[in-house]
Amino acid sequence: MSATATSVRTGSPAKAVPRPTAGRVAWFTDLIRAEWIKFRATRSTYYSILGMALIAIGVGALVARTDDVHWPTMLPVDRAGLDPIGVAFRGFPIAQLTIGALGVLMISSEYSCGLIRTTFAAAPQRRAVLGAKAVVIGAAALVAGEATSFAAFFLAQGLLSSTGKGLSIADPGTLAEVASAGMYMAVVALIGLALGVLVRHTAGGISALFLLVFVAPNVIDGLPQPWSVRIGEWLPPNLAQQLVAIHPSAEFLSRPWSLVVLLAYPVVFLTAAAWRLSHSDA
């Protein structure tokens, strides 16, 4: 510990650390890279993404294998109802929770340890910081989600071989359906990030997310008609289901509207989060 002030600093006239050139793009890019450094350096990032992939791919494969084994003894009505896309993505309702939790943690972990103040003392433009976080978690969840989604699709279709119902990615509409499932992961992660800001608490944020994307759809599905549809068609998992399913429900919102509403979710939630960030003490 022999460090002294003079060895840390190089005297005042010449600044030891040059100021980077101005430019809003370079500045925001640096904010994104700063968030990326934190994202990469945190263990929960890897656990969450790995958890999402394993659950999503594993459950789909398990269901596909089970259906494939039971195919010879299956009743004709069950055979007709076998949905190769639905089988592949059976694990997604659970898998979405791990990536959504990662979105919450992206900022709630900073609130719980107080790091958020250090973050804002290094970048007081809070909405830009939120934007940088959204870019990082959104991009990571999109890439991981698409990789998971395609892996789950190909594995499940391969396992359904003896049923003859397995789809090819070249079949009409299939590519868009598989890609939608991956994109949904990014939507959930971004909603999670926004909830982390709004609730400022890890457990609270994750609970709110579970309520929205897991509990609510199940509860509302149990409501009497027409409420199960009137409310249910607006919930994120059901919107995603409309995009992913081979046969979208005729009662729920149409595919194009489902896409619009689904993409509006992160926009609305992040806008609310940005408002809260700039209107309350850190």
Binding site: M1, A3, T4, A5, T6, S7, V8, R9, G11, S12, K15, A16, V17, R19, P20, A22, A26, W27, D30, L31, R33, A34, E35, I37, K38, R40, A41, T42, R43, S44, S109, E110, C113, G114, L115, R117, T118, T119, F120, A121, A122, A123, P124, Q125, D281, A282
Partner: protein, 308 residues
Amino acid sequence: MIEVSEVTKRYGEYVAVDALSFTVRPGHVTGFLGPNGAGKSTTLRIILGLDVPDRGEATIDGRRFGTLVRPLHEVGALLDAGAVHPSRNALAHLGSLARANGIAHGRVTALIDQVGLTSVAKRKVGGYSLGMKQRLGIAAALLGDPAVLMFDEPVNGLDPEGVRWLRELLHGLAAEGRTVLVSSHLLSEMAQTADHLIVIGRGRLISDTSTRAFIEQGSSTRIVARSPYAGELSRVVLADGGEVEALDDGALGIKGLPIQRVGRLAAESGIELHELRTDHASLEEAFMQLTADSVQYHVASATAHEES
């Protein structure tokens, strides 16, 4: 230069900072002193734009912190050494702060070296001692080579060697013409570190003066003298206008005279002395008295509001 003018901050009914004004000038280590709950941390957060005051304004070189882009080049702060993500290492923690401010990676490794954390730079911060976290926080504050530095209770958790190191660092930074504000709730600590003291209690300014003047103005500062001829010593001290009290252990407590005068009186009267010293505990007492009503207030409302 840091300027705080007429800043008031309320949390519900609780007034954390009450019409507080002061200026922190460059070239000195300025101590920001007050008992726990006096509003020190709140004031620092307001200066850093983290909390918005209900009234008043805090500026750094004339600008509000929130308007600074890449602020680490102008202001470095250590608010809470524990405010680090436990599963990240020092390189990632400082690396991300540096990146957000366009600071080259070489500066990060250099500072980790300077604060003595090189051997643990790749270890998770969660396993650091409080002293190591303080060093990490100090490194973060220095990243951008700023002209203004703020440290909230940086001494906590440092070992004696670390305390000495920090003092040298702070004096060096001030000597280079930087503005250095250091908060503490211990007067004894600040007496050795700061050139100037801003003392607050219950969110209000109590004193804004040089450390020397603050300590001397504490007229209740007591001298402890021990002599086998206590009776004679009392007489000469009283005759010279001092006040004398008998302490429990047989020594004399003397007030109203400087220590040099007491020594001279004893020498001139040929009185043998076994001990003659300034009672530093009384210094702390004087400070506590000065801020007493704020302490009582805090104890009474401790359950209602914890300073964070």
